[in-house]
């Protein structure tokens, strides 16, 4: 009766409107809407490929660079000057808060990358003051770029202080998106600089409409997109941190695509005719990082003892359920610089006890173990893993307190190095091996808080720099081998496993490809 009364206020045409939209169930709120200022995978998935483009892309199959906003590029003989020819007639988004008056050009590239390294750029100090531009800082890109010159409206040249073999790979990652200089100027005039990371304007296939915390992120199709026009009118990210709820929503078709289904849920999904599960071997590593600036974890013997005390086979069985691979090094075996490490700590509680005695750690020692509250590719269930470690460490007389916070709070507290040890990991952004070392273990990563082991070893940093200084693959390999060996000696972190990436979609959804690295792209997604 009430329903009828209410519905009488609607016309017949109100019921016949078909919405062409896709709901992607995402695991966390985005921290920012600018990939330059974060390295959080859940945020990158939501923002990077949908709102923005980069100068170049990496082909996921061949690993070669492909054109995007730059149509071609060339390098000087000393590899210190890289020139990009830019695409013409590329339009920025028209949104509720900004209407562009010109097309994309060299000024936008200069503004975007200038923001990272140029302290006179008005936006340089805007945003996360504690760890600005985390990815670029951790790989030292802000120290690498000497300057960017505009050759003409559609050509720019990057000048580097020294040659760097992973420069192009880093320019092709999800973090190197191109922003609008005109929008930035507009915000400067309004004295609202912070808005640049909150209300995005890009050249990507979708434009930003709204973000409701804990509920949704809404995008609409960019009608003047320079590349293939998207087939969806609307793209909505439904923020559902609980993975069981995400799967249930998948089954009721409230979600069309679901990020990171758990290994335990895959068998349930496989039984359904209306759901597809895709999987891919992903370049990632899950690890247990010790805060090496905090006693007693500053002693490598303690870290080794703890590493010997845990049974990784048990973890693989109960947490990964056959969907992951045991780590033998920081790099996954598919990386060209991978080398299995002979002195990877095996499960040996007796040896662990002996080592702990040697160090003089009292029995009943208490430590914190932080567990990521969301499932990640490299660790589908950190809580369960933490419980297993807790029970293993109890056997050697160490009592573990498991700590959890909401994901974004967790990350920000981690940046302040408030933890004793943490179960976390890294998912690669490019196939370059440096992507595994510099962003998570370099000294600059320790300064900006992304190095969860808080570890700064000049010898290790030197190896990384030497590897980047050469383009000879064999030579680079040797440096990375040495780096891996040094890591195993020092154990600032214990690599545990490499996970698979899963994605569930309803049968009506097509056009979403899983890549072995980087975030999700929904540019070609469609719903039949």
């Amino acid at each position: 009766m009430v329903t009828l009364l209410l519905l009488s206020g609607c016309n017949e045409s109100d019921f016949n409107q078909d919405i062409k939209g896709l709901v992607y169930c995402s695991e966390a709120n985005p921290i920012s809407f600018n990939p330059q200022v974060t390295t959080t995978g859940s945020t990158i998935d939501v923002i990077a490929n949908q709102l923005y483009n980069r100068l170049i892309n990496i082909d996921p199959d061949t690993g070669e660079f492909t054109p995007s906003l730059a149509t071609s590029w060339s390098m000087s003989a000393d590899r210190k000057k890289i020139t990009f020819k830019l695409r013409e007639n590329v339009k920025f988004h028209t949104t509720d808060y900004f209407t562009p008056t010109r097309h994309f050009n060299a000024d936008d590239v200069i503004f975007t990358f200038g923001r990272l390294f140029d302290v006179y750029n008005p936006f340089h100090f805007v945003g996360n003051a504690q760890s600005p531009y985390p990815y670029f800082r951790s790989i030292g890109l802000d120290q690498l770029i000497k300057g960017i010159t505009k050759d003409n409206d559609y050509q720019v040249t990057f000048e580097l202080f020294n040659a760097n073999s992973s420069f192009l790979a880093n320019i092709a990652t999800d973090f190197s998106v191109v922003l609008s200089a005109e929008y930035a100027k507009n915000l400067q005039a309004k004295d609202d600089l912070e808005a640049i990371d909150k209300f995005p304007v890009g050249t990507g296939p979708y434009f930003f409409k709204e973000f409701k915390r804990d509920i949704l992120v809404r995008y609409y199709r960019h009608p003047d997109y320079w590349h293939t026009l998207g087939k969806l009118d609307q793209l909505v990210f439904d923020i559902t941190p609980n993975s069981t709820t995400r799967i249930a929503k998948m089954m009721t078709h409230e979600c069309d695509v679901t990020a990171h289904p758990n290994a335990t849920q895959l068998s349930i999904l496989a039984q359904r005719d209306d759901i597809n599960v895709q999987q891919i071997t992903y370049l990632n590593v899950g690890y247990w990082a010790f805060n090496t600036r905090k006693a007693p974890f500053d002693d490598p013997r303690v870290r080794r003892a703890l590493s010997h005390a845990i049974d990784i086979d048990k973890i693989m069985d109960s947490v990964f359920l056959g969907t992951g691979k045991r780590a033998q090094s920081l790099l996954p075996s598919s990386s060209w610089a991978y080398q299995a490490q002979a002195n990877y700590p095996s499960y040996n509680p007796e040896l662990a006890k002996l080592l702990l005695d040697q160090v003089g750690l009292e029995p009943g020692f208490k430590m914190d173990l932080w567990a990521a509250p969301v499932s990640r590719i490299y660790n589908p269930n950190a809580r369960k893993m933490a419980e297993l470690i807790q029970s293993d460490l109890k056997k050697v007389g160490i009592s573990v307190n498991i700590v959890e916070y909401e994901w974004n709070t967790f990350l920000s507290k981690l940046e302040n190095h408030q933890h004793d040890s943490v179960l976390i990991g890294w998912a690669a952004d490019s196939p370059d091996p440096d992507n595994f070392f510099s962003p998570i273990l370099s000294c600059s990563a320790a300064i900006n808080g992304k190095n969860q082991a808080n570890w700064c070893n000049p010898e290790f940093d030197l190896l990384l720099t030497q590897a980047l200084d050469t383009i000879d693959i064999e030579q680079r390999k040797q440096f990375y081998y040495q780096a891996q060996q040094l890591l195993m000696q020092e154990l600032p972190l214990l690599p545990l496993a490499h996970g698979m990436r899963f994605q569930a979609t309803t049968k009506e959804v097509a056009g979403i490809e899983l890549k072995p690295f980087g975030g999700v792209s929904l540019a070609n997604a469609e719903k039949k």
Partner: protein, 344 residues
């Protein structure tokens, strides 16, 4: 007489509010960490900010002065910032409370529509089969925990039969501007091209949470109406009327109903506070974006400013709703005005 009664209720309201605000203020000292951070919600403040906050929150003064400053800010709508989102707590509560209220109101209306007639029928057919059936169902519903019921409903209606959605207030693809924050009203106010579809979708989303939430108050109202009606039917004036040869329908409709429903009205008001509490459980299970789910998330995240704000808002609301219900009851039933006095 009425004026005296109202003054009494008003005093009670003031006293309860005072206690509540004292407790909330005390919480910021009780929670771990710096009380200034717990109150303001500004984590890692700069030296400049600490100075500013100390003056604003009168932390250089005694505790009474701090409390008065706290009350002043609460009244002015400055409830600090949430740790988790960095947004003003008061603004968040303002946006979320209507969703909780909406759900509770629909559930209350549903429980009155179902519960009161069922109670009357049970009383009218006392110890006959309708009474027994209603009693049995009521007992079953009364003893079922609502989180369990909610999960069963989700299993059956959403996951197995695929009839209804299991979370939220509206399919996220419908973009409806928030004006009143009451979803049905907002849809009707909007000029969206898919208004009709959105409305149907919102009703589908409402069905299960409303049903689950209405279960408990419905059973209470059935039992209460039945007992109250049976009491009235025992009265001499009813017996007289029956002796005069009135039918059961006439008896109930003309003579018993009004008297029997008086205590029920009070009960409806009192149910509202239970409803808000149960709504929190329902909101968590159905991912309903209301203040309850937000408060529980805040507790999980140790978001102290949000916990304080949420508790204050919910408790204030319950106190006010209870007192209003009490007053309404008094308006209908003048005798009850004297009951609060100790009279010989």
């Amino acid at each position: 007489m009425l004026r005296e009664y109202l003054i009494r209720r008003f005093t009670l309201l003031c006293f309860m509010t005072l206690l509540l605000s004292l407790f909330t203020f005390w919480l910021s000292y009780l929670f771990p960490g710096d009380p200034l951070v717990n109150l303001s919600g500004i984590q890692n403040p700069s030296f400049e900010q600490i100075d500013e906050l100390t003056i604003k929150y009168r932390f250089d003064d005694n505790i009474v002065s701090q409390y008065l400053a706290f009350v002043g800010r609460i009244v002015a709508g400055d409830w600090g910032f949430s740790f988790a989102s960095g947004l003003p707590v008061f603004e968040q509560i303002k946006g979320l409370f209507p969703a909780t209220l909406e759900l509770s109101l629909y559930a209350l209306v549903m429980s009155v529509i179902l519960g009161v007639p069922a109670g009357i029928i049970a009383a009218a057919y006392h110890k006959k089969w309708p009474d027994r059936v209603i009693n049995a169902i009521t007992l079953m519903a009364y003893s079922t925990p609502i989180f369990w019921l909610a999960l069963i409903f989700i299993m059956v209606f959403c996951l197995q039969l695929g009839l209804l959605p299991m979370s939220g207030r509206l399919s996220l693809l419908y973009e409806i501007p928030e004006v009143t924050h009451f979803i049905i009203i907002d849809i009707l106010l909007s000029n969206s091209p898919y208004k009709g579809q959105a409305l149907l979708d919102a009703l589908r989303h409402l069905t299960l949470p409303t049903l689950v939430l209405a279960t408990y108050p419905t059973t209470v109202l059935v039992r209460f109406t039945r007992d109250s009606m049976l009491d009235v039917l025992e009265q001499n004036y009813i017996k007289t009327a029956r002796a005069k040869g009135l039918t059961r329908g006439q008896l109930i409709y003309h003579h018993a109903l009004r008297n029997a429903l008086l205590p029920v009205i009070k009960q409806i008001g009192l149910q509202f506070s239970t409803l808000i509490t149960l709504a929190m459980v329902t909101e968590v299970i159905f991912s309903w974006p209301g203040v309850g789910r937000w408060l529980i998330d805040s507790i999980y995240q140790r978001d102290y400013p949000a916990i304080q704000g949420g508790l204050l808002a919910v408790s204030m609301f319950i106190i006010i709703a209870t007192i209003i219900a009490d007053m309404m009851h008094t308006l209908f039933d003048p005798i009850s005005r004297n009951q609060a006095h100790g009279k010989i």
